[in-house]
């Protein structure tokens, strides 16, 4: 028996279970950790699809950076999550209805193009196939403008986010390391010549 289906079902089971857990566990830190697990297992699935560059980038960007910040923020929140669950039963029918409609919509879109007879099984590549190289050669030739545009938009978003949150408060105290480095011993310290003990007989000035 081929090993690929075993690996696929192993990862797929964990992925589905973790995704369900993300929205059902009561503790939000646990939910974030399940989301991390979901990202990680989907990276495993992408590896199985010979998309190793995307898989590693998913781990690097989403698991390694984005989710760390997410976890950071969620851990700082001290929220009691009980009140948010109160209306669960009351809103359940609407939720089920929305979910059903979405499932039907997805099936309507996906079903006609689904299955091996419409696409055929992809041919597995040999060991010398480099997904990284293939991706790069397409990304920097055919999709160059789209790629550059996406980069520019992201840069714009960063600048905008910084400008929105940047404000100088007049009484804000901060240190200037340049000034700190320039400080010399003479600026801070004054050596005073004095006798080590008061003379006897004069009477101590207490």
């Amino acid at each position: 028996m081929a090993i690929e289906p075993v690996i696929f079902y192993f990862f797929a089971t964990i992925l589905v279970a973790a995704s369900v857990a993300v929205i059902t566990v009561p503790n939000s830190v646990h939910a974030v950790l399940f989301l991390v697990l979901a990202f990680f297992t989907s990276a495993g699935l992408w590896l199985l699809l010979e998309a190793e560059f995307l898989a590693i980038t998913l781990v690097l960007v989403y698991v390694g950076a984005v989710m760390v910040l997410f976890l950071f923020v969620v851990m700082m929140l001290d929220i009691n999550f009980e009140p948010t669950r109160e209306g669960f039963i009351k809103n359940l029918p609407i939720g089920i209805l929305v979910a059903l409609i979405m499932v039907v919509e997805i099936i309507l879109v996906v079903w006609p193009n689904f299955g091996l007879d419409t696409h055929g099984a992809p041919i597995p590549h040999g060991a010398d196939y480099s997904n990284t190289k293939e991706l790069g050669s397409v990304l920097y030739t055919v999709y160059l403008y789209a790629f550059e545009l996406a980069a520019a938009i992201l840069l714009l978003a960063i600048v905008a986010a910084i400008m929105l949150t940047l404000r100088r408060r007049p009484n804000n105290k901060y240190q200037d390391p340049g000034q700190q480095v320039l400080a010399r011993k003479a600026d801070r310290l004054r050596i005073v010549k004095m006798q080590s003990s008061p003379k006897s007989g004069n009477g101590a000035e207490s």
């Binding site: 560059f53 590693i56 690097l60 390694g64 976890l71 990284t132």
Partner: protein, 350 residues
């Protein structure tokens, strides 16, 4: 005899072969970790004009084994109201990526467990996972000190990862490959050919960020024993603590190996092609050069710890964001120009 061993090796199933290779990599790492702790205590001892541990075994050489035994026999204490599962799994989450990253490290030409094209990216992904163990440990401990340590650590690691990534972008541009073996082979030649010289600022940024990533002194605010006791692992005892310790040292060795591979020519000899010296050192196997280079960087780790006082938190953030990231961005442009102009002796090769 050798033929027999080869026959047995080829007869083994592939999975067993890979497992044996992993054992061959992991066991020496674990031994190096054990003796790195002894080396650290000895080196810092001599720097501070002390002798260091010298009681257990000849010249104190059995000290790490005694330490390991002690930690293994101690009780694992789980604090009240701690999250049991996450508390126990956190040390494993720190150690596992530190070991997994070794899969793509080439020890000599062709001597590598997984020769993948996206090796550099894989290393970045794996080293960025280690911070989860630290955050989870701090959160699951149900202790304010541990939580403070975890928050400091995550802020620091996320900040320095950016500078580290940019430094590696420079290496990738210079070598034109993400494969670690190719990166070493592009530095073929003597010591002048190494990427150390054209990428000098990136090299410094990378190594200093590596020290920060491993939470080592002077960037050890996550532990901060004088302010927050022991930071994120304050509640850990026995084997669970030992795993954090193992991970920290395994990460140090990893950073040393990566710096040697990407900036110092990996397993290549520094004297290649130099008339007399090359002849004298030709017999030295490549892995010895790699180990010597790694040893040098590991010594730097210990030296830093004995020399520098701990950075203040705001200074750490300033160094990461306002100094290192601009330096790397400027130097990436410089590297681009160097590669474009085919400046020798590094970039004029075909």
């Amino acid at each position: 005899m050798l033929q027999l061993v080869l026959d047995i090796w080829n007869w083994l199933p592939e999975l067993v072969q890979i497992l044996l290779k992993i054992v061959v990599i992991v066991v020496p790492i674990m031994l190096s970790v054990a003796y790195l702790t002894l080396a650290e205590r000895k080196v810092i001892g001599y720097i501070q004009v002390r002798i260091g541990p010298n009681r257990v075994g000849p010249r104190g050489l059995l000290q790490p084994i005694a330490d390991g035994l002690k930690l293994a026999l101690k009780e694992i204490i789980i604090p009240t109201n701690a999250n049991r599962f996450l508390f126990v799994i956190a040390p494993l989450l720190v150690l596992a990526p530190a070991l997994a990253a070794w899969a793509v490290i080439p020890f000599d030409e062709g001597v590598v467990l997984a020769d993948i094209d996206a090796g550099l990216l894989y290393i970045l992904a794996m080293t960025s996972l280690g911070v989860y163990g630290v955050i989870i440990a701090g959160w699951a401990s149900n202790s304010k000190y541990a939580f403070l340590g975890a928050l400091r650590s995550s802020a620091q690691v996320v900040s320095y990862e950016i500078a580290m990534g940019f430094a590696l972008v420079g290496v990738l541009m210079a070598a034109g490959s993400l494969n670690l073996q190719d990166i070493v082979l592009r530095q073929q030649g003597n010591i002048i050919q190494w990427y150390l010289w054209p990428l000098l600022p990136l090299f410094l940024v990378y190594f200093i960020s590596g020290v920060a990533e491993t939470n080592r002194a002077p960037f050890d605010v996550a532990e901060g024993e004088s302010e927050i006791v022991a930071g994120f692992h304050v509640e850990y005892a026995g084997m669970t603590f030992a795993l954090f310790f193992l991970a920290e040292y395994a990460n140090m060795i990893l950073i040393a190996a990566l710096t040697s591979i990407m900036f110092m020519g990996g397993w290549l000899s520094p004297f290649e092609g130099i008339a007399v010296l090359d002849g004298l050192t030709e017999w030295v196997p490549g892995i010895v050069w790699l180990l010597l280079k790694m040893g040098f960087f590991l010594f730097l780790f210990l030296w830093f710890r004995a020399t520098f006082p701990r950075y203040r938190y705001d200074q750490i953030m300033r160094l990461g964001w306002k100094v290192f990231i601009p330096v790397t961005i400027v130097w990436i442009v410089v590297v681009g120009l160097l590669v474009l102009g085919e400046v020798g002796p590094w970039f004029d090769k075909a």
